[in-house]
């Protein structure tokens, strides 16, 4: 008899527990993402892999301040402290008008160059449907460097100082750790080095990141300039820009320590005018630092 009572108590208890479990299961299984919440976010940590602009953009109402810094080449030896005596800089501001549309401006110390861009996210990767994100990017750069010969300087009209870049950014976050971006690139130079160089050039850039911890990642990018388009820059042979980075994220900052054979940080300059070579040790150490400022609150959940 006691056994039966025990069984009875046990089974009622079992059903109690089961009731509780099934109650949770009944809702937990049907839990589905509301539209808009299954967007894949954080494909890259920052707006730049090293030099290449990523698919990432500041959220609507957020302003990003970017400091990009490249020292001299490390093959200059101890006398120049392996290049640390020299520095080039790009300061940039990036602003999110909407979550899809962003604009940016920048100023580089190399050739006193100004640049501006507009970026639009055409497609956004989702967890259930869309496998990739696609962005369109248009950049204009204008260098204002004065040429010492005043005659030559006045002949160097502003149209010769302009270059335009159009890029399609195709990115996919394969896992929370691993992301890749392919960037077919078209550049129009208003002025090139010699008559055998083309004004319209094509390149394919590729970059990726691999997270080693939750807040650190290793990145790499390669900018392949298709051959027989450009032959030299200032009489020096060209090399494709290959860069590596180490991203460290702390709250609203991202620090990127980089090694690259490109000293410049504008698309027309680093893609088509890189004369440094990894083989010769023309490697620039540098960093990118970004800081996000939220000028407007982003979206708010409706309270009941």
């Amino acid at each position: 008899m006691r056994k039966i009572y025990f069984l009875l108590i046990f089974s009622t208890l079992y059903f109690q527990v089961k009731a509780q479990d099934s109650l949770l299961r009944s809702i937990s299984d049907s839990l589905s993402a509301a539209p808009g919440t299954d967007l894949v976010k954080g494909t890259f940590k920052a707006l730049y892999i090293v030099n290449m602009k990523t698919i990432e953009a500041p959220a609507a109402g957020a302003l990003n301040f970017e400091i990009q810094h490249r020292f001299g080449t490390i093959n200059q030896g101890a006398y120049h402290l392996w290049g640390l005596d020299f520095a080039t800089l790009r300061l940039g501001l990036d602003y999110g008008i909407t979550d899809r549309l962003s604009v940016g401006i920048g100023r580089s110390s190399v050739l006193e160059t100004f640049d501006g861009y507009v970026k639009y996210k055409l497609l956004r990767q989702t967890e259930t449907g869309m496998p990739i994100s696609v962005g369109l990017l248009g950049t204009t750069s204008y260098f204002t460097d004065k040429i010492s010969d005043p005659k030559l300087d006045s002949a160097f009209k502003s149209e010769y100082r302009l270059a335009y870049t159009a890029q399609i950014q195709i990115a996919r976050k394969f896992s929370s750790r691993f992301s890749i971006q392919l960037t077919p690139t078209f550049i129009h130079y208003n002025l090139v080095d010699s008559t055998i160089d083309h004004n319209n050039v094509f390149a394919l850039a590729a970059g990726g990141r691999f997270k080693i911890t939750k807040r650190m990642a290793i990145t790499a990018e390669y900018n392949y300039l298709f051959p027989n388009q450009l032959n030299s820059y200032n009489g020096l042979p060209l090399h494709n820009a290959l860069s590596f980075g180490w991203d460290i994220e702390t709250g609203g900052h991202v620090f990127q320590l980089v090694f690259t054979n490109a000293q410049t940080m504008n698309e027309p300059q680093y893609i088509g005018q890189t004369t440094g070579s990894w083989g010769n040790g023309d490697v620039y150490f540098g960093f990118n630092i970004s800081r996000i400022f939220n000028l407007k609150p982003h979206n708010k959940a409706k309270t009941l």
């Binding site: 009731a19 109650l23 993402a33 982003h298």
Partner: protein, 182 residues
């Protein structure tokens, strides 16, 4: 004797099935969490909380997708999902428990109840005890509760650099309007 036991047993089974059929349920419950420090205020709010209440057994359960929490700062939302709750690995937070106290959920009124159950977050399940208010009105039940949780209890690690910016105790606010399933 056997008959009586069987009868009670069947009765309890029937009771369980019967009770299951008239649950209060919602898919638009609200959960918000708030962290306040002198350096930074952080808040995440979610309006897509699934919640169910069994009025006869007083069992209740909640489930929520962590990616559905909306933050005023987009970057916080990305960090919350990527670095803290790791929502790719642990997409849901759930609670399953029972409320006790004087209440008659078939009658209109305001009841103060105690709630005890298991909260699962970030792959860790811990017992949570809190109080709540259930307000029965026109066939609806409005449930509200606030409690505190510590991120460390759920193995959510916070790096030293930002430790001062995230409160040791996070305030959680729950607000649910249940309607009866037909």
């Amino acid at each position: 004797m056997y008959l009586r036991v069987c009868f009670i047993f069947l009765l309890s089974v029937c009771f369980f099935y019967k009770s299951n059929a008239q649950n209060y349920i919602t898919k638009t419950g609200f959960i918000g969490f708030y962290s306040k420090t002198p350096f930074e205020d952080i808040q995440g709010e979610n309006n897509q909380v699934y919640a169910v209440l069994d009025p006869s057994s007083h069992h209740l359960a909640f489930a929520v997708l962590l990616k559905g929490f909306i933050f005023p700062k987009e970057l916080m939302q990305v960090h919350f999902n990527e670095n803290y709750v790791e929502s790719d690995k642990y997409p849901k937070a759930t609670f399953s428990g029972i409320c006790s106290g004087d209440m008659e959920l078939s009658k209109d009124g305001i009841y103060q109840v105690a709630i005890k159950g298991d909260l699962s977050l970030h792959g860790v399940t811990k017992t949570l005890e809190t109080t709540a208010q259930l307000e029965v009105k026109n066939g609806k039940i409005l449930g509200t509760s606030t409690f505190k949780i510590k991120p460390e209890d759920y193995q959510i690690t916070i790096p030293g650099v930002v430790r001062e910016k995230i409160a040791k105790d996070i305030n959680v606010k729950v607000q649910i309007t249940w309607t009866r399933t037909t």
